[in-house]
């Protein structure tokens, strides 16, 4: 079996799985899609009331929650869609063009 975790750009055509089949779960964890962003949200912690409106609307699980508190963004899968910024009533999230 050929696994995604072993995938690399040195693999020749006969070293990749037939038909691109994947034989392991949760492979999206291995793929950095955070570099697709144009806009980036920022967490302003002092304004946050921990109302928990933002994390359920995030399509990419980019807002980690621990002990009933949202933490700063995990940008690995954040596409910068701005939905969290839109739902925040307390100006605890900004959304600006990302300077790379």
């Amino acid at each position: 079996m050929i696994y995604v975790k072993d995938a690399n750009l040195n693999q020749s055509w006969n070293e990749v799985s037939a038909g691109g089949n994947i034989y392991e779960p949760g492979t999206s964890l291995q793929v950095n899609t955070g570099d697709w962003r144009i806009f980036i949200p920022k967490f302003i912690e002092e304004n946050c009331k921990q109302c928990m409106l933002c994390f359920p609307v995030c399509g990419d699980s980019a807002i980690p929650v621990e002990n009933e508190k949202r933490l700063d963004f995990d940008f690995k899968h954040c596409k910068g869609c701005g939905v969290c910024f839109k739902v925040c009533p307390f100006k605890a999230i900004t959304w600006e063009e990302e300077v790379k």
Binding site: L9, W13, A18, N21
Partner: protein, 393 residues
């Protein structure tokens, strides 16, 4: 002991399906393949097979259901014609791209428009680049045999490509001829069990059909191309094994009176019978004519065809489908290309014939053989893209 029967091409294929007893058949009726679905659903209703029969709402869904079932480890099969095959188009590529060895019986019929329900090859010829192996059948016996062999070819671990088996709508599908069938247990023994290395519901994680990135897509296409190249050897192995079992020996193509032929016709499916009849008539008059009947069109046996035609002075390639390239039909393009590297190439012309069920009488082939004599006499193939049987020519 083989069973002697008399069946139509559709009955032959339905019988083969019953004997194979696939895990899943998903199909939608379309003339002239409807009968196969009709007969097979009767077998299901009567408990003669334990196949999961999925009565889908379209051919797009039929092929989608086969893809899902095959990915889940089920031997899946379907049947269609014409616009039904066209509606499967997107999924044909998905099936072969994901290396799912689905089998499909195509009962060849003309594509619309204008709408026409009769035979030509515009349906399967249009699918010739979809990564499916294609086998063509002259009569009901070959349709039966090709289908049984197609399972073993498709599912071979070094192939893993879907196979479509083609026969001429109405001409073969509805005409009753003598046929020799294998017994049910002999079929079961020959096709064996479908045991894919992995499938979606084998208890371990697996995804089929994920997005393929720029970094890997090209490698997967190269794999598919290599599988098609490698399939030729497996096809010949399966033909050999089937020949040993039944006494019916098949090759990539059939060479009929080709040894000393100076003029040859390349043809596939039912019209090969008419071509052979005319060939015999002319041979009786001492004319050196032959017929090359294609069985395996994908993978295309280019080197073997070139060798078989290398000694011939002039060849006419018959296409029962126009490609509208303005320079000939699909079989012609491949046969002519195959002969390009020969040191001494035969003169070659193309005939589009029999579209939309236009009758293909003996006279058509007499015209073609006569035209080949003229080509040899003049040495000219200037007007190589020809039609036979159209009024006003």
């Amino acid at each position: 002991m083989a069973i002697r029967e008399k069946l139509s091409g559709n009955e032959a294929v339905a019988t083969a399906l019953r004997q194979v007893n696939p895990d899943v058949v998903a199909a939608y009726p379309i003339t002239p393949s409807t009968e196969v679905v009709h007969y097979f659903s009767q077998y299901v209703a009567d408990g003669q097979v334990d196949t999961e029969f999925i009565a889908v709402e379209s051919e797009h869904s039929a092929m989608s259901a086969c893809i899902g079932a095959q990915a889940a480890g089920a031997r899946s099969s379907t049947v269609t014609s014409a616009c039904g095959l066209a509606l499967m188009w997107e999924l044909l590529y998905v099936a072969s791209g994901h290396r799912l060895p689905i089998t499909l019986n195509v009962i060849n019929r003309a594509l619309s428009g204008p709408i026409n329900i009769n035979n030509d090859h515009s349906d399967s010829m249009g699918a010739r680049d979809s990564g499916w192996i294609q086998l063509y059948s002259e009569n009901n016996q070959e349709a039966y045999d090709n289908y049984l062999m197609s399972l073993r070819i498709a599912e071979h671990k070094d192939v893993l490509l879907p196979v479509m088996t083609c026969q001429d709508g109405f001409i073969t599908s509805h005409a009753i001829e003598n046929i020799e069938l294998l017994e049910d247990d002999a079929v079961q023994k020959f096709v064996g069990k479908y045991n894919p290395e992995r499938h979606l519901i084998d208890g371990k994680p697996m995804s089929v059909g994920p997005y393929d990135t720029v970094q890997f897509y090209f490698e997967h296409q190269y794999q598919r191309a290599q599988a098609m190249i490698g399939a030729k050897k497996i096809i010949l192995d399966v033909f050999k094994e089937y020949g040993d079992l039944t006494g019916r020996k098949y090759g990539l193509f059939e060479e009929y009176k080709m040894e000393d032929a100076e003029r040859a016709i390349v043809v596939l499916n039912s019209s090969a019978g008419t071509a052979k009849f005319v060939c015999d008539k002319l041979r009786a008059k001492g004319e050196k004519v032959g017929v090359l009947k294609l069985r395996v069109f994908r993978p295309f046996p280019a080197a073997e065809i070139a060798k078989a035609l290398s000694h011939v002075k002039a060849v006419a390639v018959m296409d029962k489908a126009d490609s509208f390239s303005a320079v000939g039909g699909p079989v012609f393009a491949d046969v002519r290309s195959a002969c390009y590297d020969l040191k001494e190439r035969p003169l070659m012309i193309n005939y589009i014939y029999g579209l939309g069920g236009r009758d293909v009488p003996v006279e058509n082939f007499e015209t073609v053989y006569e035209a080949l004599s003229e080509v040899i006499k003049t040495g000219s193939t200037d007007n190589f893209y020809r039609h036979v049987g159209v009024r006003g020519l």
